[in-house]
Symmetry: C2
Subunit: 555 residues, 2 copies
């Protein structure tokens, strides 16, 4: 896993990119909408030019730490410190590119086992080192950034990548136990060899880790079928500065308040998740795709709701609003205003006469998995619930599936061309979803026009529940050099406030981290915060775990 | 709801009973197996003869309390104090019948709103009154018994039955908000009027309350389809002595550790649950039943596992082991050793030639709900997964369904005849289920022979998960007058220890209460207990909430 290099300045593998120039129809459309200056090119400086403060750790301290984690498992190399200084939000990437990082961990540790983690935490208590647990580093809410203030002696980032062992697979029960640093592909490969799958495929899947998923309550693209990571975890271990919590993997336990649910979403503020036991499911024998076009996003939402209430949701549903449908059409080569191109022209012309349009409509992508009879049954039900839509065949959904881990690469290319681009997400009940959708969209549009002079806001629903759904917004504007972070912060504040004001969730699966922490009080209340802080005091009396995040970042 | 009287000394409605003499084949079988003395009759004393200590509350104190809850909402009547002194375990019922209760609440309060609850808690903090929240009083683990020691000034039981309002139904989202004291039928009726159902039908459904379900993490008979109460609750309010926690009803929230999961299962030790918002589902248009007979319990378990792994579980599954299948046959009039009676004779004779027998086999009852196509699909899959079994038609499952709330009445009749009878439950992963099943059965048998000179132990699986299932044991012995509690405690300790030693759950859906509290440390660890106690200190600094239960009852 470690041999293939990842970008320090952007998303994913160093040897992979997705230049927006390769999507000429889309690129022209975005340039027009955002009033971009086509001459702009934003460069990435050499990593050596990225300025970070010197490490606060003395050679003696470093030697002591290396003894705890083992030789070769500690680094103060410039590259490692930069690579662990931020996550992967737009704010993070533009700061990396600016060459000015105000903070970086004073050392990066790569423990190989739980004992090492425990040893480091014990020393950190005594020395007042802040600890930042680090999985894949793909946080988009500031979850892995060192935010310790001057009251700490130093910040140690604990990168768990060397704790990636499978501890056991129980075929009969469909359970897998693994160390927290394991990434998606390695875990999935081990399960596939036994005919099992975890069914957890977040967009960050190639890079993010089991521990990171649990710490942030991640959700994957097939959550309709397999649930969120919350539903997959049945047991786990948390090593805290003052305690160690082990939750035994038992189905249907009834042991009072659920300690597992305290650790899920704890984002490194309570301790380090060292291993977990998860449900795994038989690999599907059949996989089918379907794509439908609704006249409006509202009609599409009504169909999703009907499927959810019927208990026959497709295993993956991805419903784009009208703006995102236009964007997807442009991506597929169908120019806005011109229903042609990419072999879809004739079909779209015919659909157009029936009132459907990729320029106005709402695209639903579906995936069905499992036994052939299950797939056949669900497909029939889905078509019945989506009766008001036109069939676009399997192509669009199949294409989405094959490219589902590729989209973040496009972001780097857009940033190169001076685009401000990021995503935000929320969730709401069916009855409140239109309100939250309108409020979020309006807030983004207004903030984008204010900061960037124009804006493009897309939205889709990708996680559906019986009582509601998530909303995932992607937004674009023209960036102003030197103002990227300020503009991003203004937009982020506007949309987050709008979500919460409208009764939406503060976050659906990105978590709280540092960026959402200031709003936490509004959603869980003063007394909710007090309870979280009481828990933290018990597990982490000195407050060394991931300062500035979640409850400790609340204002 | 309150107009129909309930038994103070046994289960359920005063005007309903189920004498074992009405099941002559079964009764003969039980008498033989337990070596019962057929002349024994245990009487119920008049309620006036039940001895409880005098109330510790002075007239001034009572007047002050009544002011807080409103006139007519406080009682120190003997009948009310006795009715709130214990739950409904065998231990509880024999103590009621003995006429000697060592404890009873010093007053029973019937608050009509959350403000009253808050007012009482505030006063209780100052006066050091212990508070026992009380829903339907159907706890079988000592959850509602006043266990305050001499350090408390008095014990107040808060009976929430007058907080039974529906606060709102959101049809579109399928959400219902209600006060915590509402019972199953009233809530279900309101939902049915809107074409919705909660789908939560525990055996205590007619008497138990929304707040009680949440406080104990209840599971109903259709949990395969609708999940446990844990899966239905999306929002709630908890009023604690020091705090008030409100969890907003949002689908797919990601706000860090889940406060809802701290309140679920808290059994009144953290505060009083005053209202909740739950998912509700469309009422099923179709309901079908099916019954299958496996050659062995092991074959039946394998079929349940296959259904769960296939994602096509029937909405209700109830699989009896060989002993319980024999018991069920006797209940239906088929005498052990004589395959005849009740119109099933010929069918059973034919089955017998194929190697199936109600005397040796394992009975699976199934219920299917939903749209007709869903039901048809699931029935087909279930038959396919249960291919090694014989079809017994819909009759047995249909009969079970119509009598599912009746079984506890039979217990009272058996107690009349000197039978020690109770139930215990656990859960385990598929791979560990046989071990836990054998260990639990063996412990019960040995303890029953030791205490009662003979024993009859039945077991079934009624809640199935992808990774495992519950085990529900019913056990019978001959009781010895005056030794009922001691014998029950010896048996309970033996089987609980066996469950935990074998790696099973301490409880699947009965909760911890006072009876399981001494074992809690073994399943959540010392550090888990410390965390629960930290939580309690924050919400209930004076420790007035339900003393002796859950974490406060742990040794």
């Amino acid at each position: 896993m470690e041999s293939r290099a990842v970008k320090w300045w952007g998303w994913g593998w160093e040897d992979r990119s997705r230049p927006v120039e390769g999507l000429p129809v889309l690129w022209r459309y975005v340039q027009e909408r955002l009033k971009l200056d086509s001459a702009v090119r934003r460069r990435v400086p050499p990593i050596e030019q990225v300025r970070i403060p010197p490490s606060l750790l003395s050679p003696d301290e470093l030697a002591e730490l290396e003894k705890l984690v083992g030789e070769g498992n500690l680094s103060v190399a410039h590259e490692d410190r930069v690579a662990h200084a931020v996550g992967r939000s737009y704010k993070d990437l533009v700061r990396l590119r600016s060459g000015n990082l105000y903070r970086a961990p004073d050392a990066v540790l790569f423990p190989e086992d739980e004992d090492s983690v425990q040893g480091v935490l014990e020393l950190a208590r005594r020395r007042r080192y802040a600890i930042v647990p680090f999985g894949g580093g793909t946080s988009v809410v500031g979850g892995v950034e060192p935010l310790a203030d001057g009251t700490y002696a130093a910040t140690l980032t604990l990168d768990l990548r060397r704790m990636h062992r499978i501890k056991g697979i129980d075929d009969l029960s469909g359970l897998v136990a693994a160390e927290a640093g394991i990434r998606g592909p390695l875990l999935e490969e081990a399960l596939n060899a036994k005919g099992l799958t975890l069914g957890h495929f977040p967009q960050s899947w190639e890079f993010s880790t089991l521990g990171g998923w649990i710490a942030t309550r991640a959700a994957g693209g097939l959550s309709n079928r397999y649930g969120r990571i919350d539903d997959l975890v049945v047991g786990l271990r948390l090593v805290s500065p003052a305690r160690a919590i082990e939750v035994r993997p038992l189905p249907g336990e009834d042991h009072g308040p659920d300690l597992k649910e305290l650790i899920l979403g704890s984002e490194g503020t309570l301790g380090v998740i060292t291993e977990a036991t998860l449900r795994a499911y038989p690999m599907p024998s059949t996989r089918r795709f379907g794509s439908r076009l609704f006249r409006t996003f509202g009609e599409g939402l009504a169909a999703l709701r009907a499927m959810a209430r019927d208990g026959s949701l497709p295993d993956m549903t991805y419903l784009s609003d009208e703006e995102e449908t236009r964007f997807a059409a442009a991506q597929a080569g169908v120019a806005p205003g011109r229903p042609s191109g990419a072999g879809m022209g004739l079909a779209l012309k015919i659909l157009g006469t029936r009132g459907y349009s990729l320029q106005q409509g709402s695209l639903l992508l579906m995936e069905f998995e499992g036994s052939s009879t299950r797939v056949a049954h669900r497909r029939r039900r889905a078509v019945r619930m989506a009766v008001s839509s036109a069939n676009l065949g399997s192509g669009p959904a199949r294409r989405w599936h094959s490219e589902r881990f590729e989209m973040p690469y496009l972001r780097d290319s857009l940033i190169d061309h001076g685009v401000l681009v990021d995503t935000v997400e929320t969730a709401a009940s069916w009855s409140n979803l239109p309100t939250v959708y309108r409020a979020g969209g309006k807030a983004l549009q207004e903030a984008l026009w204010e900061t960037c002079g124009a804006g493009l806001v897309l939205c889709h629903v990708s996680h559906v529940y019986p009582d509601g759904a998530s909303l995932y917004f992607t937004f674009f504007g023209k960036s102003t050099e030197g103002k990227e972070v300020a503009h991003w912060e203004a937009i982020k504040d506007a949309v987050t406030t709008a979500f919460v004001d409208a009764g939406g969730a503060l976050s659906h699966h990105h978590g709280i981290g540092a960026d959402h922490a200031p709003y936490l009080r509004r959603v869980i209340g003063e007394d909710g915060l007090v309870v979280l802080n009481a828990l933290k005091r018990e597990l982490d009396p000195e407050g060394i775990m991931n300062p500035g995040k979640l409850m400790t970042g609340s204002r």
